[in-house]
């Protein structure tokens, strides 16, 4: 049954994947071909906004669109567990999010790897950006699960991003890492983008804290989805 659900989700999301891939690859190709800026600057300028925008664009098609079109009720009344539905949606969402990154990253590494930056250097940057977007994606899915419209989902995603931006300002402004410990900064998804490989202890802390957060968000998503009112008589 999971396979059928995945097939359905893929057929609903594939145009978004294609659009995201074309946009990301097209913009990157223009930047790398014209070479107005250094390769690294081009990648940062195009992929950093993508890390913010793609999770929102792909996430709003998962639950909010189905609730808006009232198709989620029909899906839920099928003889299939809610766990399967949410698993299929999350897997499809992750695949939809990672596919443009994977295709774009591979293409960039193969075409301009070694030109100014080594392939390993580029791949590391792409992996970090993909991980950062992934955590944002998880937070936005969790926060926007109950949104009944795509517009509300976008608003909720913006609130999530705003909250983490305020968290960054507060932690930085009040120097909370010195008072409370590094974990307070490691809990912010932005910490993934600022990993300092020269400090392995901090890297381990960020990985551990973010893994725990992702596990927690997955669990929370499952609980929240089980309590959705759709499908109840």
């Amino acid at each position: 049954m999971l396979k059928a659900l995945l097939w359905k989700e893929w057929h609903e999301q594939r145009w978004r994947v294609a659009l995201a891939t074309v946009w990301l690859l097209g913009m990157t190709a223009i930047g790398l071909k014209t070479r107005i800026l250094a390769d690294r600057a081009v990648v940062v300028m195009i992929w950093n906004p993508a890390v913010i925008l793609l999770p929102v664009f792909l996430g709003m098609g998962l639950f909010a669109r189905e609730r808006k079109e009232r198709t989620l009720s029909y899906l839920i009344v099928h003889p299939v567990s809610r766990g399967h539905i949410v698993t299929a949606k999350v897997i499809a969402g992750l695949l939809a999010y990672l596919t443009p990154f994977l295709i774009g990253g591979l293409t960039v590494c193969l075409t301009v790897g070694g030109r100014e930056r080594s392939v390993a250097d580029l791949a590391e940057g792409f992996a970090i950006m993909a991980a950062l977007g992934l955590v944002f994606f998880a937070w936005q899915l969790f926060a926007g699960l109950r949104c009944r419209r795509e517009e509300t989902y976008i608003l909720m995603s913006a609130i999530v991003l705003g909250c983490w931006a305020i968290h960054s300002v507060v932690v930085e402004g009040w120097r909370l890492t010195e008072r409370l410990g590094f974990w307070i900064w490691a809990s912010n998804p932005v910490a993934i983008g600022n990993l300092d490989w020269g400090k392995p202890h901090e890297v381990r802390t960020v990985v551990l804290v973010q893994s725990l957060i992702l596990a927690g968000l997955g669990l929370g998503l499952w609980f929240r989805f089980r309590r959705l009112p759709e499908g109840r008589s």
């Binding site: 145009w15 978004r16 659009l19 074309v22 946009w23 097209g26 913009m27 223009i30 930047g31 071909k33 014209t34 070479r35 107005i36 800026l37 250094a38 390769d39 690294r40 600057a41 030109r115 100014e116 080594s118 419209r149 795509e150 517009e151 976008i154 705003g162 305020i166 300002v169 507060v170 402004g173 009040w174």
Partner: protein, 610 residues
């Protein structure tokens, strides 16, 4: 309903929470970090960036407010209102005006709070100077709001209308920057206002079309509302349309200013991957490169490599490392200037600043003039060290150094006490101090004299003609200008407004009392997007009627001729930018990045010749 009051009252009630919410966000972003800072230290609370919030947040708010004004009425609510005895024109106009007032108020309140708070502490003589930027930005916000308002009215689905409104906002910003005849409508006017270069006439010319367009858009919204025209745009169609527009716009902007020159040779240098080229000089077809194996901020060892650049192939000699004495361990180098002796190609001179690492920062620097002999023992090629500390001011600043015949000049731009050191090269292997003079003024700056004429102060070197002094002044202290041959200089005019400084070609006059008068001959305006992409802080270099602008990403080449004074020949980028450029005979140029890139401009120059 014939009165305006009920319409306005309804709009105010429905919009108040959006207004208050966004105002809270704007105030928070403007002042919260500074308030937190003020709580810790004695700094003032109001020095936040309210203007930055207006410039960035204003257009976003205009889009949201514009789409929200009509978009929220779509569907059942609109049908309900149409069934009431409501005057559609009043309904529409009141919505438009209340939304516009909301945008302006929310954008201006943080700025006014900041200005009033500053005014109580430091009264400013002319409040108009402080309000020039937001005033020039206000018509742009009005146009964005109006476009969003129409889209909110005619596109079914608030989300789709909002996406299209963001696209419209991008077009409003981008099209006047890209299409040259519309440049006078571009957001560059805000930059001009910031520099005090926007007069009342230019402001009226800039603001009037925006206001007229806004009124026209309001009229269009009225017609669409009366005829009940609403367009259904599917998510897929919308997505692909927006992506296609963005790709076409980006490609249209990027390709005309992208790389179109190719390298004839790329020469690898014997340095590490994160090494740095600090300076480069040329003599004939030979190039001398000063480099280090470390990034520029932690240079602990310097090396020279001499490269003979041939027509097809090039040969790089073995690198010569400057002495690595035990007492120099833990020292870091910065601010290197290289000179290559024309009399003896085995000799080079380097001015270096050495700094030791203290507990938390670098210690005060020590400055030296090294004489390097390539025919000396490879273990110690530095045959003479002259300490410059006692000859310079307390900050030991060295701006530049140059070589002319038997003399070597070092210029220190110490605040209030600029100095010019002159060394005699009677014995090229042992430079000796000939003169150390404190200058009454800094040299090398373009400034406007009493008669508003542009002028340039030359280095006070007796016995040399103006042309030679101009060349030496360029080596010592060129600030965004370079000699362009035939008694001309090419300069970046930073005060002209816009994102990118204009290139201005000046004709030089006869110097009197060390000041050379300049007469502008031609100007060249660069695409504003070049500034957004990092060209604003470019360094100029020129040789034989060809000028090079070194930018963060590459180099742009201009032909400085007579018939078409400043013509863009092309752009070249590689290796993440270049740190030095020298020209070789035969219209060739060598650019130093991670490697040396040799460009041959002969074909381009012959094509651009009249």
């Amino acid at each position: 309903m014939r009165l305006w009051k009920p319409y306005v009252w309804k709009e105010l009630r429905e919009s108040q929470w959006l207004a208050l919410g966004v105002l809270g966000v704007f105030l928070g972003i403007s002042f919260l970090p500074q308030i937190m800072e003020a709580a810790r230290s004695q700094e003032t609370w109001y020095d936040g960036n309210a203007l930055g919030v207006l410039l960035l947040g204003g257009p976003i708010l205009a889009v949201i407010a514009g789409v929200y004004a009509m978009g929220r009425e779509q569907g059942t609510i609109e049908r309900f209102w149409r069934s009431r005895p409501v005057n559609l024109n009043r309904w529409l106009v009141s919505k438009y005006l209340v939304g516009l007032a909301l945008v302006w108020l929310v954008c201006w309140i943080p700025l006014l709070i900041q200005m009033l708070a500053r005014f109580t502490d430091h009264p400013v003589p002319r409040m108009a100077d402080k309000t020039a930027v937001p005033l020039s930005y206000t018509p742009i916000l009005m146009l964005i709001y109006s476009a969003s308002f129409v889209l909110g009215q005619c596109v079914r689905g608030v989300l789709h209308a909002a996406i299209l409104a963001v696209g419209a906002m991008a077009l409003i910003f981008v099209i006047p920057l890209v299409v040259a005849p519309l440049n006078w409508l571009s957001v560059e006017m805000v930059q001009k206002a910031d520099r005090g270069a926007l007069n009342a006439r230019a402001y009226i010319l800039f603001a009037s079309p925006m206001i007229v367009l806004s009124v026209g858009l309001l009229g269009l919204a009225g017609v669409l509302l009366k005829r009940n025209v609403q367009v259904e745009v599917g998510g897929r169609t919308l997505g692909w349309s927006v992506a296609a527009i963005m790709l076409v716009l980006t490609a249209g902007m990027a390709f005309p200013m992208g790389t179109n020159l190719s390298a004839r040779q790329v020469i690898s240098l014997p340095m590490a991957q994160d090494g740095t080229v600090h300076d480069m000089v040329a003599s004939g077809n030979d190039v001398l490169v000063l480099f280090s194996n470390e990034p520029w901020w932690k240079v602990s060892k310097l090396g020279f490599v001499r490269v003979h650049v041939g027509e097809q192939t090039s040969v790089a000699d073995e690198p010569v490392w400057l002495s690595d004495l035990p007492e120099e361990k833990g020292l870091y180098y910065s601010g290197m200037n290289v000179m290559w002796s024309a009399q003896d190609p085995c000799l080079a001179y380097v001015v270096v600043r050495q700094s030791g690492v203290g507990t938390r920062s670098l210690e005060d620097p020590n400055c030296f003039l090294y004489t390097v002999a390539f025919d000396a023992k490879p273990a110690n090629p530095v045959i003479r060290r002259v300490e410059l500390n006692s000859l310079l001011g307390p900050q030991r600043r060295v701006r530049g150094a140059g070589l002319h015949q038997q003399h070597l000049y070092i210029y220190s731009d110490e605040p209030l006490k600029p100095r010019l050191l002159t060394f005699s090269l009677a014995d090229p292997r042992a430079p000796s101090l000939a003169r150390n003079e404190v200058l009454p003024h800094e040299i090398g700056w373009l400034f406007q004299g009493a008669s508003q004429q542009h002028q340039l102060r030359l280095a006070p070197i007796p016995g040399l003609d103006d042309s030679t002094r101009l060349q030496i002044t360029c080596e010592l202290a060129a600030s965004f200008w370079a000699p362009a041959g035939d008694s001309r200089i090419l300069a970046s005019d930073l005060r002209s407004g816009g994102f990118v400084p204009q290139l201005v070609l000046y004709e030089t006059g006869t110097a009197q009392d060390g000041v050379m008068p300049l007469r502008p001959l031609a100007r060249r305006r660069s695409a504003a997007f070049e500034g957004l992409l990092g060209s604003s802080l470019a360094t100029l270099f020129s040789s034989d009627h060809v000028a090079y602008r070194l930018e963060s990403g590459g180099v742009t080449v201009y032909h400085v001729g007579d018939s078409k004074p400043i013509e863009r020949i092309g752009h070249y980028a590689a290796d993440g930018g270049f740190s030095a450029v020298v020209s070789l005979p035969g219209n060739r140029v060598v650019l130093a990045g991670q490697r040396l890139h040799v460009l041959d401009l002969s074909e381009r120059l012959s094509a651009s010749a009249p």
